[in-house]
Symmetry: C2
Subunit: 462 residues, 2 copies
């Protein structure tokens, strides 16, 4: 048995426009950020249905053919990288939004639909799909489910995991598991969908999903405040959670050094002086624009009186709101401040973020080759991102930086990956966040699902 036979068989189940071979493959790029890097693979397939995916996977089983699943190619940990002997299953032709049920508040879709198109389709019916992250214009929902994507609304609405009501997957042996339920509560045996959410396509290919939608909020209010100490950041979070009740939807922190870098010599506005330790972006969503704004304003004033915060500005117009949030969102600016950059996405218990990040910064500053250190993140979720700039690309320095950032994780029971996953790139650090027993159990699961290790091999386990 060889590749030629496999290709012949693929031709018998796929139409001509569903299969790319040889030089045609090179017309595609390998990653959304590497559009000049041509894709390597023995074939790229474009199935149009779950059944076609199942047939492709069954064939690959017979021929021991490794498969890499492609969505919007926005994965940040090498999840979609290929070798030239691997076959790609691209979901891009499976982009049909099948149904929006306004009464049950669900959307049913094929896995290749772009997240933004789902958000827009829901919005047309005054419903909210609360997934919101930078790559939403390219990322596909199947990838978001497989990676359990997070983003800017996790604090209020949860990760992707919380939005998935029903799922359809193709297992590594081609078996179709279809459970496209619209129900919120289902304790009828093992909740199998949880196995496929966040396992980065190593246990099955997500082909269709049912997602829970929310009623669209009618108001969005924002404030930007300056805080003196991390303790007061936590105090502010507790205060606003308590006073705004279900309304608080965003609470994003940036450190002084990050704020300075974002606002010096850029197109961005600088709403507050740059002499404070911490800056917090606050968002509340509600149903009464005027009252919700006034309530947030009232508690921001109270926070000033109580000296929880040092200074503050409310976003009085939609334009001001956009301008303020841009300081949080345009983090690509931070990556441009040094020759090379290294990105982190760690979780730490909220109570300990202040001291841990301080000690990481102190240690990083001792490394000569480190030029810039920019922490920021979803502090209400305990999720801090770091963009670290360096003058060198030497593997020793990269490893040294990794070991500094990851070293507190074991002790404080954190995670090396809050949102981005493990993929190929973070696998060697998995022990910083998971025990030997946990990793062994993951390996047993992978072996049970995929004994030939043909589906997304090399990701997470082996």
């Amino acid at each position: 048995m060889n590749n030629d036979n496999l290709i012949e068989k693929l031709k018998s189940i796929l139409k001509e426009n569903q299969l790319l071979l040889k030089d045609d493959i090179l017309t595609r790029f390998s990653h959304i950020w590497k559009t000049d890097e041509p894709l390597q693979a023995i074939a790229v397939t474009f199935p149009k249905s779950t059944k076609e995916i199942s047939e492709i996977v069954k064939l690959c089983n017979v021929y021991n053919q490794q498969i890499i699943v492609h969505g919007g190619l926005t994965n940040l940990v090498g999840g979609t990288e290929t070798q030239k002997n691997q076959l790609v299953i691209s979901l891009e032709k499976m982009n049909t939004i099948e149904e929006i049920d306004s009464k049950s508040k669900t959307i049913t879709t094929q896995a290749g639909a772009i997240i933004e198109s789902l958000i827009d389709a829901a919005a047309e019916k005054d419903l909210l799909l609360p997934l919101n992250f930078g790559a939403k214009g390219s990322a596909q929902i199947g990838g978001a489910v497989s990676a359990n994507a997070g983003g800017l609304r996790v604090f209020r609405y949860g990760m992707t995991r919380q939005m998935v009501l029903g799922i359809e997957v193709v297992l590594p042996d081609g078996t179709i598991i279809s459970s496209l339920k619209k129900i919120i509560k289902d304790n009828s045996g093992y909740d199998l969908k949880q196995l496929f959410i966040g396992s980065e396509g190593t246990l099955g290919i997500v082909t269709r999903v049912v997602l829970r939608l929310q009623e669209a909020p009618k108001s969005r209010s924002s404030a930007f405040v300056a805080v003196k100490s991390y303790d007061k950041v936590v105090k502010l979070l507790k205060y606003l959670e308590s006073e705004l009740s279900g309304g608080l939807s965003g609470f994003e922190l940036i450190w002084n050094r990050t704020y300075r870098a974002m606002t010096e010599s850029t197109e961005l506005i600088k709403p507050l002086g740059d002499n404070y330790e911490y800056y917090v972006f606050i968002e509340s969503l509600g149903s009464q624009p005027k009252e919700d704004y006034e309530l947030l304003e009232h508690h921001i004033e109270k926070s000033l009186e109580k000296e929880i915060i040092e200074d503050a500005v409310m976003a009085k117009t939609e334009k001001e709101l956009q301008q303020i949030w841009q300081i949080r969102e345009d983090v690509a600016i931070l990556a441009s401040k040094a020759k090379y950059d290294q990105h982190f996405d760690i979780s730490i218990p909220i109570s300990q973020i202040g001291e841990i990040i301080n000690s990481i910064i102190t240690e990083l500053e001792l490394i000569n080759q480190v030029k810039t250190i920019f922490p920021f993140g979803h502090v209400a979720d305990g999720n801090i991102h770091f963009i670290i700039g360096r003058e060198t690309n030497s593997p020793e320095i990269i490893d040294l930086i990794n070991s500094v950032v990851y070293s507190p994780l074991k002790k404080y029971k954190g995670s090396l990956s809050a949102e981005h996953g493990i993929g190929l790139h973070k696998k060697k650090f998995l022990l910083t966040s998971r025990s030997k027993e946990e990793i062994e159990l993951m390996e047993k699961l992978k072996t049970m699902f995929d004994p030939k290790n043909i589906l997304n091999p090399g990701r997470i386990v082996f």
Copy 2:
């Protein structure tokens, strides 16, 4: 190898007050509702630590000894039933609440702690553990996690699954998996805890957990309203979700026949006339008692004006609020209306509940031996409970009733168990809600985790 050897070995690892044998076992009851039915077992063990549980489980492996795990014995599907050749591991001596972290808003506890004591401990620090169901005064948190318990606050705060941040379990081979993390976001490989939540103790024994807490709300407002049609019930839900934004926390429905039964000749009040098709209990939680009450009142008035609802009453005092909610909560009254009763806990997509429940009632009314039919439930979650009273205990009639209630589930992609689980009692109906492929995958998982089938055997799969 025989039982005597196992007992001797158990004596070597447990203190005298940690082991019950022979007649002493009969001093314990088998279920919280069957306190006159003595427990059957070859031994009851009371480990005090995860390590002791691991040692007991390892011994049981050597001796092929079946284990049934006991918490508060409130399970409704036979999950804690024993045979006299089975060994019980009771978690009741593992009831230490280890830590409440006010900043990270987490509670860390051993699995045998009573849920109400966790709620109280959190409340002392102005934090809310949003688990709220009838059995909370007896049920233990380990059982609630293993069963993925639901209850009255699911609509706003989710099932138990959403509250679990960290978990420690003993696998059927005695391996300890400990991941007592306090973090909300963790995409470091497979989310193994999801496997143990809701799998009814068949894949491992939950020994400790970290739960996410919420800031305690400061206001609770309630209304009770009468509605003419199911379509208008859904309209009202959408309207209130939209207008109260994050505030809506309860939306419970009872049918006319259930309302009549609850309010005729009982101690309960009758806040509205009994001539409407549907009655809805509405609850909002917030931070501003006066404003939140007025906002709910305003939208109840609007709903009357728009003719979404027919009649309404606001709970003006805490006493009135309690009295109104008692009509929803004292459902034991419904079970007393006939000689025998049969309870159901089904999930159906919200959009289809009205027609499906109507057609179930119509079919049940054709069965002579059915005397009472009382539907009610968590309509915002798509979860309807049925208490059906009959004059006979004949297995044929019981089966007939089961088949009527379960028959729409396959077609409408519902679930035979929204909250209560499968246990021993619902196993034979599992195919109404899960596919052959799903059940086969559950069986493969069970076999991988527990090849000797010694842990909670007979539950869910085999």
